[in-house]
């Protein structure tokens, strides 16, 4: 895979998150710190999970249920982490409000809270993309590329980049939805997030079974997610438009 192609794959996986970062997050330093800390948290959760699962690996690839178990446990753990994140966030919100009162500035607005949630989700998403996509790319520079048997139409790296992109989006917006759900006590929202996460994980597991079908499923899922987010939040119109167009383009590209 040439360097140019590598950069292209990296941009596929991380492009929207980069534009989100530049447009929304880089303006407010607190959000940058939130992104960094949520990335670190996700990384730690991954390390803990891998520590736990180390005893059972490597799994035989003929049966499917160990993989399912793996995915269910990881998703469960990460959702638990999300709840923990929420609790920490509540305390942080109280501290920030108290500080705002002392300083004489207005308390946190709804958009501020959503931006913090967005930053947290973005941190998770970026961590996922870096670990599951970029880690495959960097050792693979050089001539030739790699195809998987079950999906011979696209190089493996492209698939992993697209899946990473999907996960970035899922992580980012599910954090927003989850926080909103917890804040308003809206149980449908609260349960929607883990369900989507689980479904996405399962879909990836059955990856490469049917290339395009898989990817277009993924993106339809994302479109639903995104519409729900749009309904609930008030993202700036530019960001919303950009991400929506991205998703649509990819959906159509994958389902030709």
């Amino acid at each position: 895979m040439t360097v140019a192609a590598g950069i292209g794959y990296a941009l596929i996986a991380l492009g929207p998150s980069l534009s989100l970062f530049v447009a929304v997050i880089s303006k407010k330093p607190f959000l940058i710190l939130t992104v960094l800390s949520s990335t670190l948290l996700w990384l730690i959760s991954l390390i803990v999970l891998s520590g736990i699962w180390r005893a059972f690996l490597p799994l035989k690839s003929t049966t499917w249920w160990p993989f399912a178990l793996l995915i269910i446990s990881s998703v469960g753990f990460q959702e638990g982490l999300r709840v923990l994140f929420w609790k920490v966030y509540k305390r942080l919100e109280d501290t920030l409000d108290a500080f705002a009162d002392r300083v004489g500035k207005p308390r946190l607005f709804l958009t501020d809270k959503m931006q913090i949630a967005l930053a947290g989700g973005l941190g998770h998403g970026v961590a996922h993309a870096v670990f599951f996509c970029l880690s495959l790319l960097t050792p693979a520079f050089g001539p030739a590329t790699f195809y998987v048997d079950r999906c011979p139409q696209m190089p493996f790296f492209l698939i992993s980049a697209i899946i990473a992109l999907a996960f970035v989006t899922i992580h980012t917006f599910s954090m927003v939805i989850a926080f909103n759900g917890y804040a308003e006590g809206n149980t449908t929202d609260q349960y929607f997030v883990p369900v989507v996460h689980l479904v996405a994980g399962m879909v990836v597991k059955s990856a490469f079974a049917r290339c395009f079908c898989l990817l277009s499923q993924k993106f339809s899922l994302l479109r639903i997610l995104f519409l729900i987010v749009l309904k609930n939040c008030q993202l700036s119109p530019e960001t919303a438009l950009v991400v929506f167009v991205w998703l649509n383009v990819l959906c159509h590209a994958c389902s030709f």
Binding site: K27, K28, P29, F30, L31, I32, L33, L36, S37, T39, L40, L43, T95, L96, A98, F99, A100, R102, V103, G104, K105, P106, R107, L108, F109, T111, D112, Q115, I116, V130, F131, L134, S135, T138, P139, Q234, S236, P237
Partner: protein, 412 residues
């Protein structure tokens, strides 16, 4: 956007100083990682070619057993730390004897050497790697100009701050790259040893760095030093400021982030603001430039008497230490001061040694795998954040190295 019509909420500015320090550290680390991955030389060739002070006790070869390597690395690090301690004490002595001029000249000289020689060698490596056509004369002229501007940037405080910052990052990057050329075990043990040394030197009462800063406080003088100063955050209101942390805190100060009840004012521009915050707690009045200490000193004195809570707000200056040269013939060392602190304009200052050691850790991780780089980077940034928080909390001089290095080593 709707937000434009609302008053600015605190989310807009909170944490700005921290980000302003994290950004250059990240840039430095990124450049070192790029350099290391482009110029990845194998260990054996570089370590045998360069007898350095850091490997004076033991040169690692590939065939030694793990235990031998470890003992050798330990020996190397002990020698290194001993030399660094000795030189720091010499610097304290010189500062005590008011040889400031000598120190400043030495600072300029060391900056020149780093930029010209180390920068030149790395540039040559890059040219070799990419077969870049350039002739001797052009190269020398460019290099000479680059080094001289760097020396001026470090020396003179009136230079555009962006240039100064950029040059400091470049110096840190160059020295860090040379450090990554050390043999593997030596590097890791050296990092841990320097972290422990930093801890000792800053926190122990007989630590040289602490002595140095105490001297500086008692005299209200500057220490000529290579420290990175983040651009100060300009606040138009003299209300409380968030997140400004003070390193070697010698005054009582309550930090707003920890709900301690007092308001912190860290308006650090001279005159007018100094006296206005007596009720609200701390004043960090610091001189605007390296040369204006006297002015601030006078005001600080006033403020000190007026308010029992305040003691002399200090201008932390740190000694400039450069790491040991890798060239055999250059026996002069400058030591880098580690530690975070408060700059002349109230911005956070981070010693260049911290930059270097963080980058060395990440650069060494880059020799293994990209993922380790990522993990180590996050660990270091987290460590830096923790150190800043601790700083705000304890308000004492704190070394910046230990937390980050420990986390980074673990993450590796």
């Amino acid at each position: 956007m709707a937000q434009n019509q609302r008053p600015a909420s605190i989310l807009d500015t909170l944490g700005e100083e921290i980000v302003r320090i994290i950004t250059p550290v990240s840039i430095c680390m990124l450049m070192v990682v790029i350099l290391v991955s482009i110029l990845s030389l194998d260990d054996s060739s570089s370590s045998s070619a360069m007898p350095t002070i850091a490997t004076i006790a033991y040169s690692e070869t590939g065939s030694d057993s793990s235990w031998d390597k470890f003992m050798g690395a330990l020996l190397n690090s002990l020698v290194f730390v001993a030399v660094v301690t000795a030189v720091t004490f010499i610097l304290v002595l010189l500062f005590y004897l008011r040889c400031t001029k000598f120190l400043k000249i030495y600072l300029g000289f060391s900056a020149f050497v780093v930029l010209a020689f180390m920068g030149g060698e790395i540039a040559l490596f890059l040219f070799e790697k990419f077969s870049f056509p350039i002739d001797c004369v052009t190269f020398l002229v460019i290099l000479y100009n680059f080094a001289v501007v760097g020396v001026l940037a470090v020396f003179i405080s009136k230079m555009a701050i962006l240039v100064t910052q950029a040059y400091l990052v470049v110096i840190g990057m160059l020295v860090a790259y040379w450090f990554t050329l050390l043999p593997e075990w030596t590097t890791w043990v050296l990092l841990v040893a320097m972290a422990l040394y930093d801890l000792a030197a800053v926190l122990l009462p007989v630590g040289p760095l602490r002595l140095l800063v105490e001297l500086a406080i008692s005299r209200d003088e500057d220490i000529p030093a290579l420290v990175y100063e983040a651009r100060p955050v300009a606040h138009h209101d003299s209300g409380s400021r968030d997140g400004v942390v003070r390193r070697r805190v010698w005054s009582e100060r309550r930090n707003v982030l920890h709900d301690s009840g007092g308001d912190v004012n860290s308006n650090a521009i001279l005159s007018g603001n100094a006296g206005s915050n007596l009720n609200s707690g701390v004043v960090l009045s610091v001189a605007s430039g390296h040369n204006d200490t006297r002015l601030a000193g006078a005001e600080e004195g006033r403020v000190v008497e007026a308010n029992a809570e305040l003691s002399a707000p200090l201008i932390d200056r740190r000694m400039n230490d450069n790491m040991h040269r890798q060239e055999e013939d250059d026996t002069s060392e400058n030591l880098l001061l580690e530690g975070i602190g408060l700059g002349s304009t109230g911005a956070i200052k981070l010693g260049l040694g911290d930059f270097i050691f963080y980058s060395v850790l990440v650069g060494r991780a880059a020799m293994y795998d990209f993922m380790t780089v990522y993990a180590c980077y996050l660990a270091i940034v987290a460590g830096l954040g923790v150190t800043l928080m601790l700083l705000a909390f304890y308000q004492k001089a704190l070394p910046a190295l230990p937390v980050s290095i420990m986390l980074g080593a673990v993450a590796n």
